[in-house]
């Protein structure tokens, strides 16, 4: 029995091997040859891994784009042109609520990923819904803040500081908006087609996207709000 099992593993044929791929080139190599370590051993990675990796690269380039906005904000934060600065404009209680909402949505998004891994459709949908709703409340608060600032005459046209502020925070808000749309799309796809491999990959990418948004928000509330509102 154990000999047969060894043959089974070493040869890579039989139940787990895909037809026409006796050496399991497309499946991370044979089990007898050790594990592929990301250094080119063991043949091409599976589609799930290449998709996740590709999306990770996209997220990193998205973060690099954000770094441009952060750099602009850091350079222009003092250029208020006689207008209001961060200390007068920012309301930390609202920012704290926004931060809590986004952090909590990141958490529920992760719980959704766990439910997906357990192939539990109901809980995946519930956690996706909660994630989307939390994101939506976050967005409402942010739009409120923007409207209030513009109403006070502190719109993006007021000073270079405010242009940089609205560009940076607005860009993050735009990402959250896109994320909410994506969340709804994923719920609809799950509803109509269930846990297909392609949909699982998209869910993984959505989770990555949502967590990355939260990471950007950490930099944002620290550098823009907390440092800007400093005494």
């Amino acid at each position: 029995m154990s000999g047969a099992a060894a043959q089974h593993r070493g040869g890579g044929q039989g139940g787990q091997g895909k037809g026409g791929d006796p050496y399991r080139l497309g499946h991370g190599g044979g089990h007898g040859h050790g594990e592929a370590t990301g250094r080119g051993d063991g043949g091409p990675a599976s589609k799930r891994i290449t998709t996740g990796y590709g999306f990770w690269i996209f997220l990193l380039s998205d973060i690099i784009m954000f770094s441009g906005f952060f750099a602009a904000y850091a350079v222009l934060r003092g250029e208020t042109a006689g207008g209001p600065g961060g200390a007068e404009l920012f309301e930390l209680p609202r920012v704290a609520i926004e931060t809590g909402l986004l952090l909590l949505s990141s958490f529920t998004c992760g719980l959704g990923a766990v439910a997906t891994e357990r192939r539990n459709l109901a809980w995946t949908q519930i956690w996706l819904l909660v994630t989307g709703l939390l994101g939506f409340i976050f967005l409402v608060l942010e739009v409120q803040e923007f409207a209030q600032m513009i109403g006070e005459g502190a719109g993006p046209a007021r000073s270079a500081f405010l242009s940089a502020f609205f560009a940076l925070v607005g860009c993050h808000g735009l990402h959250v908006g896109v994320g909410i749309l994506w969340c709804g799309t994923m719920m609809a796809q799950l509803w109509s087609r269930g846990f297909l491999p392609a949909i699982q990959r998209r869910l993984m990418c959505f989770n990555l996207f949502w967590h990355a948004l939260d990471i950007i928000w950490v930099a944002l509330f620290t550098i823009v709000y907390l440092m800007g509102a400093g005494r």
Binding site: R9, G38, S46, W56, A71, T116, M204, L208, D214, M227
Partner: protein, 135 residues
């Protein structure tokens, strides 16, 4: 070959990990629901620390920005490990290298811009002075 290893192997496609891949990190430290709970608690604590930092007189004023940045970097690390499942394991080499490159570019863009623009504004004449000389 241990049974555990066989188990992981037999589910297929477990040799490299995609970032955020629940299946790959489910059994590891920082995986599963426990990982998310731990991550949430740590992130909450760091966030609370950041907000407390600006509202209290406990910390010496000029040290606050540095402390805030330390807390933010720590929280980003928490997010990366517990939410995105970026670890230092061999199955994560690609992800970590991509991340390291991204961080390099981000630091170059942000600090490079601040450095250059700071020098520029030091060497530019103040606007009022320029107006005076142009008359």
């Amino acid at each position: 070959m241990s049974e555990g290893k066989l188990e992981r192997g037999e589910r297929g496609e477990r040799h490299d990990s995609a970032p955020g891949d629940e299946a790959a990190s489910g059994q590891e430290f920082g995986g599963g629901v426990t990982g998310y709970v731990v991550g949430l608690l740590l992130a909450l604590a760091l966030t609370a620390g950041s907000f407390y930092m600006v509202s209290t007189d406990l910390v010496w004023g000029p040290a606050i920005p540095a402390a805030l940045i330390v807390l933010a970097v720590a929280q980003m690390g928490i997010h990366l490990v517990f939410f995105l499942h970026i670890t230092t394991g061999p199955d994560n080499t690609n992800n970590v290298l991509a991340l390291a490159f991204g961080v390099l570019i981000v630091l170059l863009v942000v600090f490079g811009s601040m450095w250059i623009m700071d020098h520029l504004s030091h060497q530019l004449m103040p606007m009022g002075e320029m107006m005076k000389r142009m008359r």
